[in-house]
Structures are given as C-alpha cells and as structure tokens.
C-alpha cells in the first residue's frame, strides 16, 4: 500500500483519536483506489474484448455484472480463507 500521496504529516501534535481517524480514512481511500484499479483491469479483460468506436450496451451491462460478481467473489474468498472448516 502506498502512503506517499501528499497529505498533512501524521502525528504532528495531533490527539491520538485524530490520528486514528486519519489512519483509517487513508486506509479506506487506498483500499477503494486499489479495488477500482483491479476492477478496471479485470472487467476490461472480460467485457471489452474488441474495443470499438464506443462501449456497446452489451459491454456496459457486462461491466456492471462484472463489478457485482467480482465483489461477490471477494466475499466468497474471504469466507473460505477465514472460516475454519476446509
């Protein structure tokens, strides 16, 4: 994860609570950016197989299904990783 984006220096005279909130906000943003970048790559591969002069309606609806399925897949993987039974 990349913390190099310009933001106020951490912990400079802040209260611990403010610092925690700042950490959580930055993690949240990094996480969202990473997910969007991943979705771009995965759904472009699956849905835009031959780029034409514009996105067709078929491609657009494929992309929206792709986003839904990818997020569902993250849930499936997460449950299979962190639940005890094999």
């Amino acid at each position: 994860m990349d913390f190099s984006s310009p933001s106020p220096p951490m912990g400079s005279g802040q209260s611990p609570e403010a610092l925690m909130e700042q950490v959580q906000a930055q993690l949240q943003q990094a996480y969202a950016e990473e997910l969007i970048e991943t979705l771009r790559g995965k759904c472009f591969d699956k849905c835009v197989t031959k780029p034409g002069s514009s996105l067709s309606s078929g491609e657009s609806s494929c992309v929206s299904r792709c986003v839904d399925r990818y997020i569902e897949a993250m849930g499936i993987i997460s449950r299979s990783l962190f639940s005890q039974q094999r």
Partner: protein
Amino acid sequence: MDPSAANNPELLRFLNEEQQRVMMNEAVAKLTSVCWDKCVTSAPGSKFSPSEYSCLTHCAKRYADMSMLIIRSTQSKK
C-alpha cells in the same frame, strides 16, 4: 511520530489491529485476483454458475496447500 503517541498503548493496539486488517485485505485481494482468472472463464453473468461457485470456494485453500508444497519442495532441494 510524536514520541508520546508511540508510547500510547491504545494507539499501539489500534495500529496493530489496522496492520492485521491490511494484511487480511491484501490476502483477499491477491487470492480473489488469482481465483477470478482461474474460475471465471467466460463473460460474467447475473450470477455465478455452480461450477464457477464451487471453483471459487475451493480455490483459496488449494492455493494455500500448493504454497506449502512449493515451500517444502524448494527446501528439500537446498
């Protein structure tokens, strides 16, 4: 960092928990990417087919099993 913050046990506990969460999220992100490529072979539909679903539910654990195998077999070759 403000040295008083580094000595704040509540803050240290918070940072440890966040670090754990980040590692778990990274593992899920990495495995989802690998398993998506492996299990979802056609254009995504409105729901997963039974075979896609079954592939996704097994994929992460088999990846972990395989990692152990690879580690063991590279160690035995040293």
